[in-house]
């Protein structure tokens, strides 16, 4: 097991290098020179030369790449072009807690709703209840998240006035847990919606497969209660494949978080990314693209390791 974890972790390294190479290559393809963006256009040619030298722009491209990756590995993502001199890492760290809060709450919400629905659906397959759950999850997958957010803002925010239409807390109000939760409910639900739908369908099909196994029939024929058979014998095995699904859904979940943050003016890294896209703040764009991919790689690594821990049938 330990050797599997080490091997799996080592496999993530070339992946991370590949991600940085692709991101770097895309920026290199950009028309024009980063100096034109970063420099004061009134600079004298010899000062421009000094500037290029200072930022290593006269180095060969492989050397520039090595410097960039080396700096990132030490947590230095460069400085913002738009907000001159502010380190990108500082901008990210200011916003990151909000994003983590939103994603964590959404994930919990998605699991709490989707897993029970999937289980109930699998226990009574092809009944009215099962069809209702299936059609609802089809709808959830097809709904554009940002539009769902917009509709909720119009209905629950503006029309009914039940929830605030954006932000993490009421401006200039003293900190209160209830206020924070109040602001969190709509964005967390919107972000959770798409995953909830997909998760319900995976849970259902995974449980359906498990419930047809011999050991379930044995347990049933021994006279155990159905709920006990399903929850104790079925669920433990039925949920193992869901771990992998979580890993696979992670990239779209992170993309979804960026859009949700944008709809609800949620000051997280996703919104920072989209703001930076408009101002062409390349160091921030690059930093966040690499960071979000690192998230995905680590998430998948954890999913694979957890899978190995929970499924004793597989030997490594």
């Amino acid at each position: 097991m330990i050797s599997y974890i080490i091997r799996r972790t080592l496999m993530a390294i070339p992946l991370l290098l590949g991600i940085t190479i692709i991101s770097f290559a895309i920026i290199q393809l950009a028309p024009g020179d980063p100096t034109t963006l970063m420099m004061d256009p009134t600079l004298k040619p010899e000062d421009q030369e000094k500037f290029r030298e200072k930022y290593g722009l006269n180095d060969s491209i492989p050397k520039q790449y090595m410097t960039w990756v080396g700096n990132m590995a030490q947590g230095d993502f460069g400085t913002s072009i738009i907000r001159r001199g502010v380190p990108v890492s500082e901008m990210i760290m200011n916003r990151l807690p909000n994003t983590i809060l939103l994603m964590a709450v959404s994930t919990i919400l998605a699991i709490l709703i989707a897993v029970p629905l999937g289980i109930i659906s699998s226990m009574r397959p092809y009944t009215k209840l099962d069809y209702t759950v299936t059609v609802t999850s089809f709808l959830g997958v097809a709904t554009p998240g940002f539009w769902l957010g917009l509709m909720m803002i119009i209905f629950f925010g503006v029309k009914l006035g039940w929830f605030p239409t954006g932000g993490v807390s009421t401006l200039n109000a003293p900190f209160s847990i209830w206020d924070r939760i109040h602001h969190l409910i709509m964005p967390a639900f919107v972000l959770a919606a798409a995953d909830m739908a997909a998760l319900t369908r995976y849970t259902r099909s995974s449980m359906l497969e498990v419930l047809h196994q011999d050991y379930i029939r044995t347990a049933k024929s021994k006279g155990f209660k159905e709920s006990k058979v399903v929850l104790k014998h079925g669920l433990r095995n039925g949920l193992i494949p869901i771990i992998t699904i979580f890993g696979l859904m992670l990239p779209s979940f992170i993309s979804g978080a960026a859009i949700t943050e944008s709809v609800f003016s949620w000051p997280g890294i996703g919104r920072l990314f989209i703001e930076s896209a408009f101002t062409r703040d390349y160091p921030v764009i690059m930093g966040l693209t690499v960071l979000s991919s690192v998230f995905v790689v680590i998430g998948n690594l954890l999913a694979d390791i957890l899978y190995a821990v929970f499924d004793p049938r597989i030997e490594y």
Binding site: A142, P144, W147, F273, I274
Partner: protein, 302 residues
């Protein structure tokens, strides 16, 4: 198959009334597909949407670009079926023209993604070994970058029009197809008919394209159908953020960007509802059809 023929022959000898022709593959496909009510429903709705979008210039009751300052944000009614937008333009007409762009971008991108994904998947699956390892690690890398981040990074650099947007979507959405095709090729390349063609010295390109690929078409068609829905959602999200299809060219996504302003939300809350509903219905129908195709093209289940 041989066993089957034998049985039929025996039955024929016993019962001469059974001398019907066996169903053709197309017939079997239609029988299975029409059994799935949701898939048939989806196919019909999609057909209507595609026809409406394709013939937009002839169907649209108004010029979709004509502004009208005295009739801004009017409610749905007799003259303007779905009301007017912030500039007094007819929402229904704009939805038709927006559908043209949204569907064109989606179909174009999926076609591109299929070409890239199938080529890479076929090479990896057919040759295996080193080629497979390198190509699949490349797929792993591209999949690890959240697609919205990759899309937005590329879009901010190249600032593409809607035609180049197709290329960018194709370049960012081929990975699932590549994985799928590789899997199909890995299993098909060991089959007898492939071994036979290899033994008689058929060129690799011919084996890949004329022998293996047709046998892998089923799953590819299903994946492509589902991918169309995915690209429609991505395009809508990107255009909604203001980074995709740029106004005045309408797309379902950028109509929603136009409709999210506070005055619109207060004065005409129905306006943002329409483009979103249309996206929802279209994607839903593509998913229904994809599901139906999966069952209909699966040779095992009946």
């Amino acid at each position: 198959m041989a066993q089957n023929n034998l049985d039929t022959n025996n039955e024929l000898a016993l019962n001469p009334n059974l001398q019907e022709k066996p169903d053709t593959l197309t017939k079997i496909f239609f029988r299975k597909f029409t059994k799935n009510k949701l898939a048939v429903f989806g196919a019909i709705v999609l057909l209507i949407i595609i026809i409406l979008a394709a013939f937009a210039p002839w169907i649209a009751p108004f010029d979709h670009e004509k502004t009208n300052v005295i009739n801004k944000l009017s409610s749905p009614g007799k003259e303007h079926w779905l009301g007017t937008d912030r500039f007094g333009r007819d929402v229904f007409s704009r939805l038709l023209f927006g559908g043209r762009i949204s569907l064109l971008v989606a179909f174009g991108s999926v076609a591109g993604a299929l070409i890239i994904g199938t080529t890479i998947g076929a090479l990896a699956g057919y040759y295996g070994g080193m080629i497979d390892a390198i190509l699949m690690r490349f797929v792993d890398i591209v999949i690890s970058i959240p697609s919205l981040f990759l899309l937005i990074t590329v879009v901010t650099i190249f600032e593409p029009g809607w035609d180049k947007l197709i290329l960018i979507f194709a370049l960012t959405s081929w990975t699932s197809t590549a994985r799928l095709v590789r899997g199909e090729f890995l299993s098909l390349r060991t089959r007898e008919f492939v071994l036979a063609s290899r033994t008689i010295g058929t060129r690799a390109s011919k084996i890949i394209f004329s022998h293996i690929l047709p046998n892998a078409m089923g799953p590819i068609i299903v994946a492509a159908t589902l991918l169309v829905g995915g690209v429609i959602l991505s395009e809508a999200a990107l255009s909604y953020l203001g980074l995709g299809v740029q106004p005045p060219t309408p797309s379902w996504g950028n109509m929603l960007q136009d409709a999210q302003g506070f005055t619109v939300i207060i004065k005409a809350p129905w306006y943002p509802a329409f483009p979103g509903l249309l996206i929802l219905i279209t994607v839903l129908c593509f998913n229904f059809v994809g599901d139906g195709l999966r069952d209909a093209l699966d040779p095992k289940g009946d």
